[in-house]
C-alpha cells in the first residue's frame, strides 16, 4: 500500500528530473521498474563533507545518484539589501564574509569598483601591494580547496601541512590589516597602511619555505595511484556545458577554457607581471585539482615579481574626499578632521552612474555591479558570486556517479557557503 504510493511519487520525481537532464546517465534505472529500491538521502545541510551549510536531496539507487535537488540559502544574510543602506567604505566588511577563504580579493575588488566609479587613480605601490595580497589570498583559497579534497579522499596529512602554511599567510595579513579571516583590508583609494618591514620579512621567509612544502604536497598527491583512481574522470563537465553554466575561474579552466580576468581585463597592474594560465582538458576533479596546484605556483611567481619590483611612493591615492585620513591626523589636523567627519557622516556625494567591475576571485569571476544615484550609499549593488552561478551544475555533474564521487566533486568545485548565499 504505502510503499507503492511512495514509489509512485518517487518515480514521478525521477521522471521529471530525467526530463530536465536527458541522456546524461545510462546507469540510471528505468522508471517502469517497480522492483528498484530507491533511497532518498539528505546530504546536508550540516554534513561534515559538504564543507558549508547547503543541502542536497539525493535520490539514490544503492550507491548511485539518480537525481538531486540542491537547496541553498541557509546562511543568506541579504548583503545586497544591507549594502543599499551602507556607505561605500562600510560595504567592505560585507564582502569579507562572502568568500571568506580569500577575503582580500573581495575587499580589493570592491575598492576597485568604487575607485572606478569615483575616477580615483591608485598609485603603483598600492597596486603592487594589492597584487601581493590578492595572490596570497588565492594561494590560501586553493590550499584549502585542495587540502580538503585530500581529506575527503582519506588523506588528512596534506591538509594539516597546508593549514600550517595558511597560518603563516594569515600572519602576513595581520601585519597589514590586523585581522586574519575577515580582513577588511585596504581602503577606497589604496591601502590603509604601508607594507611594513616586518611584513616584508615575514613574506620573504614564507616565500622561501613554502615551495618545499608545496612540492611535498604535490609529491604526495599528484601521481598517487590511490588518489588518482578516486578522482580521475569524476564529476567531469565539458567546456561547452561549463560555459553555458557560467563557470569561471579554476573550474572553467579545468574544462579547457583559458578565461582569466587577470589577463583578459587586467586590473591593479596585472599586465606588469609574467605568469601563465594553466588549463585542463577534461574538466574532471583531477583537472580541477591540478589546475589549482599550478595556479599556486603561478601566484608565487607573481608575488616574487611584485616584491622584487615593488615601487617606492605613496601607498594610497590623494583622494581626501574618499580616503579616510589616519586617526592620528584626525586628532591633530584640521583638514583631516573635516574630511573624517564628512566621510563618516556621508556628506560627500558620489557621481551618478553605473559600473561593473570584476576581479579573478579564488573560485571565479567576482563581479560588482554598482548603480549609484549620487547618494551616499549604492542605489543597487549586485554581487556576481561565482559559486552561486556554477553550483547549479552540481546536480548535472554528479547524476550517475556514486555518493563518494559526489563528495569529492563538491570539494573540488570549491563552493563557499558564504558566497553562495551572500
Amino acid at each position: 500500500m504505502a510503499v507503492n504510493d511512495t514509489l509512485e511519487s518517487t518515480h514521478k520525481i525521477i521522471e521529471s528530473a530525467r526530463e530536465q537532464q536527458p541522456n546524461l546517465n545510462p546507469l540510471a534505472p528505468t522508471v517502469n521498474d517497480f522492483n528498484q529500491e530507491l533511497t532518498t538521502l539528505n546530504l546536508g545541510p550540516t554534513h561534515p563533507a559538504t564543507h558549508g551549510i547547503f543541502q542536497n536531496i539525493l535520490q539514490m539507487d544503492g550507491e548511485r545518484i539518480i537525481s538531486g535537488v540542491p537547496t541553498i540559502g541557509y546562511i543568506h544574510r541579504a548583503f545586497e539589501k544591507i549594502a543599499e543602506r551602507r556607505p561605500f567604505y562600510q560595504i567592505t566588511t560585507l564582502t569579507d564574509r562572502m568568500n571568506y577563504c580569500s577575503s582580500p580579493i573581495n575587499n580589493f575588488g570592491w575598492h576597485m569598483t568604487v575607485e572606478k566609479l569615483l575616477g580615483v587613480e591608485v598609485p603603483k605601490r598600492a597596486q603592487y601591494i594589492r597584487v601581493i595580497m590578492m595572490e596570497l589570498a588565492r594561494i590560501t583559497d586553493h590550499l584549502i580547496c585542495n587540502g580538503i579534497l585530500g581529506v575527503d579522499t582519506g588523506a588528512f596529512t596534506g591538509f594539516l601541512y597546508l593549514m600550517d602554511e595558511r597560518e603563516k599567510v594569515y600572519e602576513i595579513y595581520e601585519e597589514l590589516c590586523g585581522a586574519r579571516l575577515t580582513t577588511n583590508m585596504g581602503r577606497v583609494g589604496g591601502m590603509e597602511r604601508d607594507l611594513s618591514d616586518v611584513a616584508i620579512a615575514k613574506l620573504r621567509a614564507w616565500l622561501k619555505s613554502f615551495p618545499a612544502v608545496m612540492r611535498e604536497f604535490e609529491a604526495m598527491f599528484n601521481r598517487n595511484r590511490i588518489f588518482m583512481d578516486r578522482i580521475v574522470d569524476v564529476g567531469a563537465i565539458s567546456a561547452e556545458r561549463a560555459l553555458n553554466y557560467g563557470f569561471t575561474g579554476p573550474n572553467l579552466r579545468a574544462a579547457g577554457v583559458d578565461y582569466d580576468v587577470r589577463v583578459m581585463n587586467p586590473y591593479s597592474s596585472y599586465q606588469d607581471f609574467d605568469f601563465e594560465i594553466p588549463v585542463g582538458t577534461k574538466g574532471d576533479t583531477y583537472d580541477r585539482f591540478m589546475v589549482r596546484n599550478e595556479e599556486i605556483w603561478q601566484s608565487l611567481r607573481i608575488i616574487n615579481q611584485a616584491l622584487e619590483n615593488l615601487p617606492q611612493g605613496p601607498y594610497h591615492a590623494d583622494a581626501p574626499h574618499f580616503y579616510l585620513p589616519p586617526k592620528q591626523a584626525v586628532y591633530q589636523n584640521m583638514e583631516a578632521l573635516i574630511y573624517h567627519f564628512k566621510i563618516v557622516m556621508g556628506e560627500i556625494d558620489a557621481p551618478v552612474g553605473e559600473v561593473y567591475h570584476s576581479v579573478e576571485g579564488g573560485n571565479g569571476e567576482l563581479g560588482f555591479y554598482l548603480v549609484s544615484d549620487g547618494g551616499r550609499t549604492p542605489y543597487r549593488l549586485h554581487f556576481r558570486r561565482p559559486c552561486f552561478i556554477y553550483y547549479q551544475a552540481y546536480t548535472e555533474m554528479v547524476v550517475g556517479q556514486t555518493l563518494s564521487d559526489a563528495i569529492v566533486t563538491l570539494s573540488s568545485m570549491n563552493v563557499i557557503a558564504g558566497e553562495l548565499d551572500a
Binding site: 530536465q20 541553498i72 540559502g73 543568506h76 541579504a78 545586497e80 539589501k81 544591507i82 543599499e84 543602506r85 551602507r86 556607505p87 572606478k116 566609479l117 556545458r241 560555459l243 553555458n244 553554466y245 557560467g246 577554457v257 578565461y259 583578459m264 581585463n265 557622516m345 556621508g346 552612474g353 553605473e354 559600473v355 561593473y356 570584476s358 569571476e365 563581479g367 555591479y369 548603480v371 547618494g375 551616499r376 550609499t377 543597487r380 549586485h382 556576481r384 552561486f388 552561478i389 556554477y390 553550483y391 547549479q392 551544475a393 548535472e396 548565499d421 551572500a422
Partner: protein, 187 residues
C-alpha cells in the same frame, strides 16, 4: 535619418581615440544591423561598457541572436539581476543582463523595464543553464515572474515569505519608528 548621419562621425571620432570605444562602436553597429536601430534606446557607454535598453518582447530574441552570432560570439551570460525604480511610472521593475564575449573580450549590458503591476519577463533558461538560479533570485528578491522557467521558486529566502524584500518599499530599518529620522543616514 538626419540624426543617424550626425551620430556616425561622432562615433568614428571616439573610435579613433580609444580601442575600447572602437569595439563598442562596432558592437553597436552590429546590434543595429541584426535587430534594427529601433530595438535599442538609451544607448550609453558608462565607464566603457556599452549599455542599451530594450523591451521585454525583444530581449529573448536579441540575446539568442547574439549567442548564436558567429562574428561577435556573445555567448557568456556573466550575470543578471533585478532592479526597482519606484519613481519611474510603468517602468518600475527592470532586469539588467551582462553579456560577455570571451573570444572578442567585449561586454554588453542590456536592460529591460516593465510595470510592477505586470512583473513578467521572458525566461532565458532555454538559452543559458546558468539563468535558472539567476531568475529564481530575481523572482525571490523582486517578484519578477518568468513564464516557462522550469522551477520558479524562492532560492535564498524561506518558502513562506509573502513579500519580495529587495523592493524599495521595504526599508532596511523598521519604517514605523518615529524617534529616528532618516535625514542623514542613507535614504
Amino acid at each position: 535619418m538626419a540624426d543617424q548621419n550626425e551620430s556616425i562621425p561622432a562615433q568614428e571620432q571616439a573610435a579613433a581615440q580609444d580601442p575600447a570605444a572602437q569595439k563598442n562602436a562596432q558592437l553597436l553597429a552590429l546590434l543595429h544591423r541584426l535587430f534594427g536601430a529601433d530595438a535599442f534606446t538609451d544607448v550609453e557607454e558608462p565607464y566603457g561598457l556599452l549599455t542599451a535598453t530594450t523591451t521585454r518582447e525583444q530581449i529573448h530574441g536579441i540575446i539568442e541572436g547574439l549567442q548564436k552570432d558567429e562574428e561577435i560570439q556573445l555567448h557568456f551570460l556573466t550575470t543578471m539581476c533585478g532592479m526597482h525604480w519606484p519613481e519611474k511610472k510603468d517602468q518600475e521593475l527592470g532586469i539588467v543582463y551582462h553579456l560577455h564575449s570571451l573570444t572578442q573580450n567585449i561586454r554588453l549590458r542590456l536592460k529591460i523595464f516593465f510595470p510592477i503591476a505586470d512583473p513578467v519577463a521572458p525566461t532565458l533558461t532555454d538559452l543559458y543553464s546558468c539563468a535558472n538560479w539567476m531568475e529564481r533570485e530575481a523572482f525571490d528578491f523582486y517578484g519578477i515572474i518568468f513564464p516557462g522557467h522550469p522551477n520558479l521558486m524562492r532560492i535564498l529566502n524561506v518558502e513562506d515569505m509573502d513579500y519580495h524584500p529587495m523592493r524599495k518599499e521595504y526599508a532596511l530599518e523598521d519604517g514605523t519608528r518615529e524617534d529616528k529620522t532618516d535625514l542623514f543616514f542613507g535614504r
